[in-house]
């Protein structure tokens, strides 16, 4: 009747059991669809939160090892006197120092906020030689000569401003060399009630993750002189000092010496490395990385139980099928394998959707929250983590549901209601 098994092909095919697993996925559209949706959201949140945390970490990690920050020992929000800079410069091991004063204005509308800092006109460009690349200067100059041209223009034009490339390229700003940019003050109100005007003399591209590409630096003497002559209101001060040092090994000694210098001054100081300052600044709003990591972990953990529950339901419904397969001669582990594969497939589909959502919204996040969420990027490492996490989630859920099959005899499994 039926030909005996002859032409040996050797190995058993996996395609049929896999097809069976896929049929089950599509046979339970609602349950598996909801599970996939849950995993999609979880993986998206995981990618989003980890990208934020990584961005924060990247900012801290990119801090220069040869730079210190001197701030008030009382608070970051207490400014230091302008008279401190020559004394800092005079310390052994200090290469160059510049005041950094937070300005806090906005362009046209508060939603168009980007950071602005008042910096020393003669020192700033040289201080940041390794931190950003000047890509455009006055009269359209580009290339190696741009830095010197910008340095010269910054020292010459009192209202000069150097901007990050984002302020040039983004449509809503579109600042070009030579443009006069009005910035509406939030702290330093002008006597005439109007906006401050700055003239763009240079555009830079950040080389370090901690420097955003939507930022503006302008001359501190423009700010302070305006206050002194009564054109603006506020306090003539330096904010904090950024201090380049010659040798990173000397950072602790130099920091101590600077703080000793001002121990009896009008403001005591606290000098730390730029990395410590960046960490402190982040921790000023709480331990954000830990918080975000905890939220992401909690979401993933709860979704894990949800997926396990869905797979356990699938497993219970599949017990009769396990009995059928065993009666046909499939080993018990076949049903376990099918559930693992089903869990893996569902989790990977959800994970892929979640990852695609994270990648698809990346530009949107950067565009809308780029100032708050710095260095946001779904990089290949994060993609691998998302897919790997999804795979582990699916395999574990499949194992939880499939392992019990191994202890059922075919007769017990066949008696269950499928």
């Amino acid at each position: 009747m039926i030909a005996a098994a002859s032409s040996l092909k050797g190995r058993r095919k996996l395609s049929f059991p896999l097809r069976l697993a896929f049929r089950h996925i599509f046979a339970n559209k609602t349950r598996n669809g909801l599970t996939i949706l849950a995993i999609t959201i979880a993986v998206f949140l995981l990618c989003f939160l980890l990208a934020v945390v990584r961005g924060i970490d990247a900012g801290v990690r990119s801090a220069s090892s040869t730079r210190l920050v001197t701030q008030s020992a009382v608070s970051l929000f207490v400014s230091l006197p302008m008279s401190y800079r020559p004394k800092i410069d005079a310390q052994d091991g200090v290469a160059i120092a510049s005041e950094f004063q937070w300005f806090g204005g906005y362009y046209q509308d508060p939603s168009n906020f980007f950071p602005q800092f008042a910096v020393n006109k003669d020192r700033f460009v040289d201080m940041y030689v390794n931190d950003f690349e000047i890509i455009e200067g006055p009269n359209g100059i580009t290339g190696p000569g741009a830095r010197e041209a910008v340095k010269k223009a910054f020292a010459t034009e009192k209202r000069a401003a150097i901007i990050g490339i984002g302020l040039r390229d983004e449509e809503k700003y579109d600042f070009k060399i030579g443009d006069t940019v009005p910035i509406i003050p939030a702290i330093y109100q002008r006597a005439d009630g109007g906006a401050w005007e700055f003239v763009v003399v240079g555009v830079f591209r950040p080389l370090k993750a901690r420097i955003p590409d939507r930022i503006m630096y302008f001359r501190s003497d423009y700010l302070n002189d305006s206050i002194e002559v009564g054109e603006a209101f506020g306090e003539v001060s330096a904010g904090v000092y950024y201090v380049n040092i010659d040798n990173s090994n000397q950072s602790e000694v130099i920091a101590t010496e600077i703080d000793q210098e001002f121990l009896n001054g009008p403001q005591r100081t606290q000098t730390v490395t730029e990395a410590a300052f960046a960490s402190f600044f982040v921790s000023a709003i709480g331990n954000l990385p830990l918080f975000l990591g905890t939220v992401g972990g909690a979401v993933l953990f709860s979704i894990f139980f949800s997926v396990v529950n869905a797979m356990l339901i699938a497993g219970r419904q599949r017990l009769n099928e396990a009995g059928i397969l065993q009666s046909l001669g499939f080993p018990p582990i076949t049903s376990t394998f099918l559930l693992i594969f089903e869990g893996l497939a569902v989790a990977l589909i959800g994970g892929a959707f979640g990852l695609a959502l994270a990648i698809g919204t990346q530009d949107l996040v950067v565009l809308n929250f780029g100032d708050s969420i710095r260095n946001y990027e779904i990089d290949p490492g994060l993609m691998g983590l998302a897919i790997g996490t999804s795979a582990v989630l699916g395999i574990t859920a499949g194992l939880c549901a499939g392992i019990p099959f191994l202890r059922y005899r075919p007769t017990e499994a066949l008696r269950s209601i499928g």
Binding site: M1, A5, K9, F16, P331
Partner: protein, 241 residues
């Protein structure tokens, strides 16, 4: 082992534990079925009919005694190797059909063939042939939910014979069917036994189904109480009349 002892149960005892108490389902049972026989097992519920099928089919193991099929001591096969033995030697037909609802009729029949070393083309050919035997070639692409009960059971029979097993074990194969469908299934089992020489062991409560078998074995409380040859020609002539 001769043709007269193709399936043999020797002093087989099977107990189950229910509520902490041992329940003896088969008690030192001896049973011999020759090759090519068609035996119907009858008896009240709990008499041990299905347990015999499970033991012969290697789905369960006895507490004591030997179960031998085609010179292989099934009760001595390691648990791990039993599935492979079942795949080669036994085809099951269940009361509730037990087809996989997510697969088509053809795919259901293909399922046991996955365990054979046949090529994909050969597997397909055998599945096609098995469906042809049960008269359902035109329903190959239908899922179980698109078939009648009788058609589902015919697909189950096609699946049982697809790998050309020595023994077909049928547990109440007509239990869930109306009379007409049941008759079709019984006729099919007759053909498998008469034309293809399959050894069939069938559990049934239905005297009309048992009338198709060559032998009728009656069980009660785990003991064989009757073993009678059945005059199938009388049944056939009744059918023709």
């Amino acid at each position: 082992m001769s043709r007269d002892t193709y399936i043999q149960l020797e002093s087989v005892t099977k107990k189950y534990t229910r509520g902490g108490e041992d329940l003896v389902v088969l008690d030192q049972l001896d049973l011999t079925i020759p090759e090519g026989d068609y035996a119907a097992l009858m008896g009240p519920s709990g008499s041990g009919k299905t347990t015999i099928l499970n033991l012969v089919g290697g789905l369960d193991v006895p507490n004591s005694g030997r179960v031998t099929v085609a010179e292989t001591e099934v009760s001595g096969i390691a648990q791990r190797q039993l599935p492979a033995w079942r795949a080669r030697h036994v085809g099951f037909v269940f009361q509730s059909f037990n087809l996989l609802p997510v697969l088509t009729a053809h795919e259901n029949v293909m399922l046991p063939l996955q365990l054979t070393p046949l090529s994909a083309a050969e597997r397909k050919k055998q599945a096609d042939f098995a469906l042809e035997i049960v008269g359902l070639s035109d329903r190959a692409g239908h899922r179980p939910s698109q078939l009648s009960g009788g058609q589902e059971q015919r697909v189950a029979i096609a699946r049982a014979i697809a790998t050309d097993p020595d023994v077909i074990i049928a547990d109440e194969p007509t239990g869930d069917l109306d009379r007409n469908s049941a008759d079709e299934i019984l006729e099919l089992l007759d053909r498998l036994n008469d034309e293809l020489g399959k050894t069939i062991l069938m559990v049934t409560h239905d005297p009309a189904a048992a009338a198709n078998a060559r032998r009728i074995l009656k069980l009660d409380k785990g003991n064989l109480v009757s073993d009678e040859a059945n005059d199938r020609s009388r049944k056939q002539s009744q059918g023709e009349a």
